[in-house]
C-alpha cells in the first residue's frame, strides 16, 4: 500500500515535470501583448484580437462599462459560473450549519453575555478587547469599500465579503461575541439567502436577451448606465450596469455565509470548553 502511494506520487510529479516543457515560457502567453496599443476604431474590436483574454482586455470596458476587467469577467462574461459558485458556498454554509447544530443545544449557548471592554474576562487581555473595538468599524468600512468599488478598483463581492467576515472572526476571538449574534443567526441566514436571491433575480431581469445579460450598462437611463469609452479614466461609480448590483449581492452572501460558519464553529468550540 505504501509502495503504491510512493509510486503514484513519483509518477504524478514526474509527469508534471515533463509537462513543464510543453508549456509556454513564463511571460509569453498566447495573444498579442500590445493588444491595447494596436487597435481598430471599431466599438467592438475583433480584428486585432486572437485570444479570449485579449478580447476581454480590449472590449470589456465598452461592453460592460466596468474598469476592472476581472470583475467584468466574474460577474458578466462568466456570471453563470459565479452563480454556481455562490450556490456551492450556500450549500456549504447550509451543511455546516446543519451538521454542527447537532453538537450543542440552543439553551446551552444562549446565556453568553455581552462583554464591554472594561469588563474583560480573565482569558482575554485588555489590549485585544479595546483593539478589536477600534478595528471592527475599520474592517467593515474597508469591506464595504471593496464591495462598492468592485467594478473600479481591485476588489469585488467575494473579497469585500471575506474582509467583512474577518471582522466577525475578530469579534469572536476577542470574546466580544454577544448573545445577540447567536440569536440573530436566523437573520444572518435570511440575508445570505437574500444575496443569492438578488443575484438570480438580476439574472432573470436580463432574460430578454440572455440569462445574466448586462441590460443596465452603457447608456441606459438607470443609475449605473454611464457609457465608458475605452481607455484609462479616473473611475466613475455610476458605471458598470448590473455589475455593482451583482457585486453587492455576492458581498452580502459571502459576508453572512462566512459569518454563519464562524459563529457556528465558535459555539461548538465554546460549548466543548464549557463541558470540560
Amino acid at each position: 500500500m505504501k509502495l503504491a502511494s510512493f509510486l503514484s506520487l513519483v509518477l504524478i510529479t514526474g509527469f508534471l515535470f515533463v509537462a513543464i516543457n510543453k508549456l509556454h515560457p513564463v511571460g509569453a502567453p498566447l495573444g498579442n501583448p500590445d493588444v491595447l496599443k494596436d487597435r481598430s476604431s471599431a466599438a467592438t474590436d475583433i480584428i486585432n484580437v486572437n485570444t479570449m483574454d485579449d478580447y476581454y482586455l480590449r472590449n470589456s470596458q465598452t461592453e460592460t462599462g466596468s474598469n476592472n476587467v476581472v470583475s467584468s469577467i466574474v460577474f458578466d462574461y462568466r456570471g453563470f459560473d459565479t452563480l454556481g459558485e455562490a450556490t456551492v458556498l450556500f450549500l456549504v454554509v447550509t451543511s455546516i450549519s446543519m451538521l454542527l447544530s447537532l453538537l450543542y443545544k440552543r439553551e446551552d449557548v444562549d446565556d453568553y453575555e455581552f462583554r464591554k471592554p472594561n469588563e474583560f474576562p480573565g482569558d482575554v487581555s485588555r489590549i485585544i478587547s479595546y483593539g478589536s473595538y477600534l478595528l471592527y468599524p475599520l474592517i467593515i468600512t474597508f469591506g464595504v469599500y471593496l464591495v462598492i468599488h468592485g467594478h473600479l478598483s481591485p476588489g469585488g463581492g467575494f473579497q469585500g465579503g471575506a474582509v467583512m467576515a474577518s471582522g466577525t472572526a475578530l469579534l469572536l476571538v476577542s470574546a466580544l461575541i454577544t448573545r445577540h449574534v447567536h440569536r440573530t443567526r436566523r437573520i444572518f441566514s435570511f440575508f445570505e439567502s437574500l444575496g443569492l436571491t438578488i443575484f438570480i433575480s438580476m439574472g432573470f431581469a436580463g432574460i430578454g436577451t440572455t440569462f445574466l445579460y448586462n441590460f443596465l450598462a452603457n447608456g441606459s437611463s438607470t443609475l449605473f448606465g454611464r457609457a465608458i469609452p475605452f481607455g484609462p479614466n479616473p473611475g466613475f461609480l455610476n458605471s458598470g450596469g448590473v455589475l455593482p448590483v451583482l457585486s453587492f449581492a455576492i458581498g452580502v452572501e459571502v459576508f453572512f455565509g462566512l459569518s454563519i460558519i464562524l459563529v457556528t464553529l465558535f459555539h461548538v468550540a465554546r460549548h466543548r470548553k464549557d463541558m470540560e
Partner: protein, 119 residues
C-alpha cells in the same frame, strides 16, 4: 532559465501537498496539505497569466494606452472563485474532522472505525 523555476515551484507545491495527503496520518494535516496543493494550483494559473511589465487588468488611473500592458484577466477571475471555494471546502472538511474526532476519539486515519490496516 529563471522563468523555469516558477513552474518548478508549482510542481514542488503540488508534490508537497500530495505527499502529505498520501503519507500523513492526521486528518488536520491532510486538510492543511490540500490547502498547500491548492496554493500550487493558484500559483500555476497566475504564472500562466503573467506578462512582462504587465499591470493588473484595471483601467482606473492606468498609464496611457501606448505604454499599457496588462496581464491576462481570465486566470485571475478563476483564482478569485477558487479562493472562496477553497475556504468553504476547508471549513467543511474541518467540520467533518470534528465529527470524526467525536465518533472515534482520534484523528489518526489508521484508527478509525471500520478501517482495516492495509500496511
Amino acid at each position: 532559465m529563471t522563468d523555469f523555476f516558477l513552474y518548478v515551484t508549482v510542481v514542488l507545491l503540488v508534490f508537497f501537498g500530495l505527499s502529505a495527503v498520501l503519507f500523513k496520518r492526521n486528518l488536520i494535516k491532510i486538510v492543511i496539505a490540500l490547502n498547500i496543493l491548492e496554493a500550487g494550483v493558484n500559483l500555476f494559473f497566475i504564472v500562466l497569466a503573467y506578462r512582462p511589465e504587465g499591470t493588473a487588468p484595471i483601467f482606473t488611473l492606468a498609464p496611457e494606452l501606448e505604454k499599457l500592458r496588462m496581464v491576462l484577466p481570465t486566470p485571475q477571475a478563476l483564482i478569485l472563485t477558487n479562493i472562496v471555494i477553497g475556504f468553504a471546502t476547508t471549513a467543511l472538511m474541518l467540520v467533518f474532522a470534528v465529527f470524526i474526532y467525536r465518533n472515534n476519539g482520534t484523528l489518526d486515519i489508521r484508527n478509525l472505525k471500520g478501517v482495516e490496516d492495509h500496511d
